[in-house]
Subunit: 270 residues, 2 copies
């Protein structure tokens, strides 16, 4: 089910600036029995991202209501929220009377082999390098061609995720995930101030680590450092966490931190 500005619809205007320019932001979240998981993290990020590109964010009440409507008949599903600058005439200038559009849609939760959660995934390193754009870094905006091109690099269904490097060979994230490295029982995750997307699950892991007294550092992570990690973990709101079992010629045995983080996320679902 799809709601466009609160009305059931499966279309948007051609002149919506989300379509014309990717002028908008989105979140993807998991909904169980009508309840969006980690909602306060998701909504905080949505507010932040709307504000970063100057779009008014819909109210929490409106969104909660519409999430409940699209998920009404689903025990568990994925919900995508998109907020765009709304309709506009030709040209990049933002119309003074612009009226943001919001889209709330439910889709089935994607299914993956259970082994990916249990024993880890195979990953690859994408050739595409993320460009630096500090003005847009971290924002989950609708300009996602880099992710699309990176995801086109492989067809092998046994490869669960592709890691994206920046132009200086730092690991930034996966095509659809944030990454964490474990070293000496502490966490390390890439700095996203020049490129990459900040996921709500990344924020949750920060808070959980702090609450459990585990250090979590944000910094540049060169690929060779990532390959030397004790554990390499990818995370997002639909999959939770997966440990990387195989990347290039490096293999990892199942690690304890991945299980610990999964438990944190399962415990603190709101």
């Amino acid at each position: 089910m799809i709601l466009v500005n609160g009305a059931v619809s499966d279309t948007v205007p051609v002149i919506d600036r989300g379509f014309a320019y990717g002028d908008g932001v989105f979140r993807t979240l998991q909904v169980r029995s009508g309840r969006p998981l980690a909602w306060r993290y998701q909504f905080r990020r949505l507010q932040h991202d709307c504000s970063a590109i100057g779009i008014a964010c819909p109210s929490e009440a409106v969104l909660r209501n519409e999430i409940a409507r699209v998920a009404e008949h689903e025990r568990i599903c994925a919900v995508k929220i998109m907020v765009t600058r709304g309709p506009g005439q030709r040209g990049y200038a933002v119309p003074r009377e612009s009226q943001p559009a919001r889209i709330v849609m439910s889709t089935p939760l994607p299914t993956y082999p259970t082994s990916w959660s249990e024993t880890g995934i195979r990953a690859r390193i994408c050739s595409l390098r993320l460009g630096f754009q500090p003005a847009l870094a971290g924002i989950k905006h609708l300009n996602r061609l880099e992710n699309v091109l990176a995801r086109q690099e492989w067809q092998d269904p046994d490869i669960a995720e592709g890691l994206l490097l920046d132009a200086e060979s730092n690991v930034i994230g996966g095509t659809m995930t944030n990454v964490f490295m474990v070293r000496n029982d502490a966490l390390l995750t890439p700095d996203l101030r020049r490129c990459g997307v900040s996921g709500a699950t990344r924020d949750r892991i920060f808070d959980c680590a702090a609450a459990h007294g585990i250090a979590c550092t944000v910094s540049d992570v060169p690929l060779n450092e990532a390959l030397q990690a004790d554990e390499l973990i990818v995370a997002n709101s639909l999959i939770g966490v997966w440990q990387v079992r195989e990347l290039n010629d490096r293999e990892w045995a199942p690690g304890t931190m991945t299980r610990t983080i999964r438990r944190w996320l399962d415990e603190e679902e709101d």
Copy 2:
């Protein structure tokens, strides 16, 4: 009038990947009495850009026919062609059976003060710096948030265009134009292999310059070099060419090359 895959419509599916990810390309052209100007340049660029991101380009015959339909009742108008990867389910992976979508729409030609053509424009330098992304550079794709953010930097209606620099302070183009510098009666235009958008008018100017024995160099153009140019010119398919009369504290008198290029473009409209 808007045609979506040949049918009159003003909407596209929410699940179109053009909306979800900006996964598509576009062109904007001028149409007079049903005839698209510089069509072979426009179509060549559209083919190139579709191919660059792996989308099948619609045939020339289909597009010509739809341009004629949307422009049928207009003596002169702008037509925008968008080609997207078409509908897709959740996720960045391109569906195997993906079916590109094409949108052909006519809008009124934007109107500008006649002085802008006659005596030149005021321009500004945008704070936003374009990020380097060689995989997407030059392509007129639907990920245009950089242009949107740059265009938001000013409201003054007397400023006609904003110049965009890259992270190394090279001039790349305007928010909606390509730029040319004149020096010693020769042309110079920025290299667009790391960022920027290649317009059809830029290609036309290359060919016209060659045909008229005027040298045209493509290279990096640091801002200070651009400010020292004998003429600074912005160009696109709707405006033709405008000379920059004022930029920062630099002012230029009307120059002869701008008029020469305008004459070239007027003469060779196909």
